[in-house]
Symmetry: C2
Subunit: 378 residues, 2 copies
Amino acid sequence: MPFGFRLETSQGSARAGILSTDHGDVCTPAFMPVGTQAAVKAATPETLDKIGAQIILANAYHLFLRPGIGIVEDAGGLHSFMSWTKPILTDSGGFQVFSLADLGKVTDDGVEFQSHIDGSRHLFTPETVIYAQARLGADIVMSFDYCTPFPCDRTEAEKAVALTTKWAERGAGVFGTLFNCNGYEQALFGIVQGSVYEDLRRRSRDELIELEFPGYAIGGLSVGEEKSQTWKITECVTEGLPFEKPRYLMGVGTPIDIIEAVARGIDMFDCVLPTRNARNGTVFTRDGKLVLKNTGYSRDFAPLDSDCRCYACQNFSRAYLRHLFLAGEIMGPILATYHSLCFYCDLMKEMRGAIFAGCFVEWRRGFVERYSSGETRE
Amino acid sequence: MPFGFRLETSQGSARAGILSTDHGDVCTPAFMPVGTQAAVKAATPETLDKIGAQIILANAYHLFLRPGIGIVEDAGGLHSFMSWTKPILTDSGGFQVFSLADLGKVTDDGVEFQSHIDGSRHLFTPETVIYAQARLGADIVMSFDYCTPFPCDRTEAEKAVALTTKWAERGAGVFGTLFNCNGYEQALFGIVQGSVYEDLRRRSRDELIELEFPGYAIGGLSVGEEKSQTWKITECVTEGLPFEKPRYLMGVGTPIDIIEAVARGIDMFDCVLPTRNARNGTVFTRDGKLVLKNTGYSRDFAPLDSDCRCYACQNFSRAYLRHLFLAGEIMGPILATYHSLCFYCDLMKEMRGAIFAGCFVEWRRGFVERYSSGETRE
């Protein structure tokens, strides 16, 4: 079955659709739990299934360095290696090469860098990165992009746009030759760069649209800029993207951020916040964030979120979770992750329902009101 | 329903029975996963259920210090606090007071100590310890015992036996007045001490038998003595214990240790080995221990244990587990714990089956042979 996206309905700019892959469908708007190193931290595939996760993300940079693409390939690909039968998206590692690694020479041809793990030297080219992702076997593969930090001057942002387009084209070239190499279809997305410069973002978007990718991502946002800039850039990119193709805002964000982005036409998200915060004892709930170590929870026998269906909320109290975190018990991260990922997945489902029901605006107002006035004892 | 133990069958000294509690039955020989701080490390109650764990252990010393008995009591007791509906045994904390805490004055009345967490000063008496466990709500409560280290001179061992008997009697006194305080029955076990001195062990055992406990434990073994001493002492204690009451060898042990102890008439076990080793990347299998970080597993796509039914073995390879441990992924401890606990529970089930089938001797020979000649790449 060919990779596809079907827009089912929309309300204002907010959209609900279905992404089809050979590993199953993904109802959008969708949140992708992050499994950087071929494992979503503290959540087994069994747990992710129960939570209702439809697609997860892994990272080609990390997997290239450890355990190595060859081992994952020999295991039968990422799905088999990590025992996840549903869709997987791999990020190209552009962001990681520019942020985590010790950056070497950047040329038209690619990026030389040193591993953040052992200092070993490597070269990523737009071709090798696509080839690596094809071998990993992700359903959705991301172009190798030139990621700019924030702040970023206009000259640097222009260079990023130019190289990102050039690399996207070269990546698409090699990707075309690899068609169906795993026996199922893979799709390659383009990534729009251009920092906070609206004209550069439009240029980047339009150059990528020329290349006719089946989906488009916005990279290089949520890296320190003002929220108002995030949304201005998101809007200026989405307003020109083809209506019938999925849009993915990379690395975003808090529940409120995600709602704001959906209101601006975004379909897909990934973010480490729910999992990373959970491991530190902070969970997201319909009443805002809870910092579980706070003394106020020591005899609070209510669940984390009174409206949550998850295993953690159905069986354990805030007092118990607080005890686990204070005692350094590994069960704390496990249960907190269970809840926060479930909360994110249910948030997407609720939003989708509201878009279908034509009440997204009211739903959004209600959610934000309760979330912001919550009892958050920080 | 009253607490009870029914011996179903035996072969030589090896026994199979059923322990009945108001939270359900426990088929023996049984292994109790250790949940010291009201959580079995890296295994949720849901996981423990799937694994087939029938009873778990928690520790009164740890829970007294954190979160405090009152909080657990207000949560509705340990079962409710940690969401475990099956039987729970709490250790009195005798062992911990003597090994973990900064020991203060030991008198006939009890033990003064300083918390290993914050140095706060506390007094445990045989009465307060029983009262604390009654409030925690365990199905099986352990007497407060005087634990000796190894080596231990005869004078010290004699003192331990004398105080342990005195404390057991005083504990039983207060326990009698608390009967059914939680609406279900609790049972108090005595603990035999006496280090490696056979006559002292016999004295301790016989003095406790006088007090008519519904079950007897052997404490102060597997603390550094030779294996031959462990088994000599185990035999000399069990040979005089009432046939119709359960026997619990505390803190033991490896798979082979457990088989050896069952062969000598032990019914119940607890040990941190499967969980602690799993978190460090070493798992127990039918072919011996596997140290997952070893290079040999980097492309080994076989399951941890080819004969294991557990979620980890059914879905993941040694190569994947090795990757998780090398990458420092929390999923490593989770999956390794899943397997090792399942392996321990299945070991007990197999042993019980062999005792029923009258082939315990042959089964034991076969297990030990395969386990010892395994491919363990340490």
